[in-house]
């Protein structure tokens, strides 16, 4: 069996996220309830070398700012359940739209791999993608795949393997905001860090506070108050 690692799959709707999930996990999957919410997340495993990757198929969303239950579930999983790696699946034929979500994930968590799916369709349309340039700019591995034709899988699995073993270190690009916002972040980030400790990215939480994201505040309150959360978990994980 070997060591188990959790890999969360995030992406816009219709990017082939579930195709990738199914292709990688085959029939080794089941759905589970998570974190006290009645939204089911498909889970499955894939073996690679001496490791087991447990894949969690998050709901497809355009964003992770909790405009809807789906977005909240996806966000909560990435931020609070802390998967070992978050795999963001993008549609190669509409990168502009898809990168919005990718950038949001890069702000939330460190270990991210970006899979650019539907690469064969994009190439047919004459779209060329320079994944090295993207890797440099984003600071995390970017890999071209075709989930439908199972292209790029060895590279993808190998990259996941190298991240969990620490052979590759992700260094997500830090989005810089306007002077006014950066000023405010500087003011509140130390206090945020004091309260939440190292459990969440203090910069990200600060940004969300400036954005007036109340659902996140409530979630943090609930989860960081400890015991109740543990209890909720044990009843739903099984």
């Amino acid at each position: 069996m070997g060591t188990e690692y959790r890999i969360a799959l995030a992406g816009n709707p219709n990017t082939g996220k579930s195709t990738l999930f199914n292709a990688l996990t085959g029939l080794r999957q089941h759905t589970g309830n998570w974190a006290g919410k009645t939204v089911s997340l498909a889970q499955g495993t894939v073996q690679f070398k001496d490791k087991t990757f447990q894949l969690i198929d998050l709901p497809g969303t355009y964003s992770l700012f909790s405009n809807s239950k789906d977005e909240e579930v996806a966000r909560n999983y990435i931020v609070f359940e802390k998967p070992d790696v978050t795999l963001v699946v993008l549609d190669a034929t509409s990168l502009e739209r898809n990168l919005n979500l990718a950038l949001q994930v890069l702000e939330m968590t460190k270990n991210v791999v970006i899979a650019i799916n539907l690469i064969d369709v994009a190439e047919e349309q004459g779209i060329q993608i320079n994944e090295r340039l993207l890797t440099n700019r984003l600071g995390v591995p970017v890999i071209k795949i075709s989930a439908r034709n199972k292209k790029g899988f060895p590279m993808l699995l190998d990259t996941l393997d190298r991240i969990v073993t620490g052979a590759i270190e992700c260094n997500p690009v830090r989005m810089v905001y306007s002077e006014e916002i950066e000023e405010q972040i500087k003011k509140i980030e130390p206090k945020v860090r004091e309260i939440i400790g190292g459990q969440l990215s203090s910069r990200w939480v600060s940004l969300r506070l400036l954005d007036g994201d109340e659902t996140l505040l409530n979630e943090i309150n609930q989860r960081l108050s400890g015991r109740q959360v543990e209890y909720e978990y044990s009843t739903h994980i099984c």
Partner: protein, 84 residues
């Protein structure tokens, strides 16, 4: 065209291409529209109007999205092309 004509999305005619200059919305709806691609500088094409003029379908970053007057009247832009 010497000076670009400013207009609200709700007043766009079929075929118009409008470059967004401002979103006069707040909170969740603003966030939602930004996520869908209605950002400053984005080019939006009026794809079609409903028989009664509301909602209107727009094409923004390769996807068609319909907005109600409630939202489209709060998004302003410059007319880049009238489609003729």
């Amino acid at each position: 065209m010497d000076k670009p004509k400013t207009m609200k999305l709700v007043n766009g005619e079929k075929g118009n291409i409008i470059k967004i200059t401002s979103l006069n919305l707040d909170g969740v709806m603003r966030r939602r529209l930004l996520d869908l691609g209605f950002v400053t500088g984005a080019l939006v094409e009026v794809v079609r109007k409903s028989p009664l003029g509301d909602p209107i379908a727009f094409r923004v970053s390769q996807t068609t999205i319909a907005l109600r007057e409630e939202e489209s009247s709060k998004i302003e832009g410059e007319l880049v092309s009238d489609g003729n």
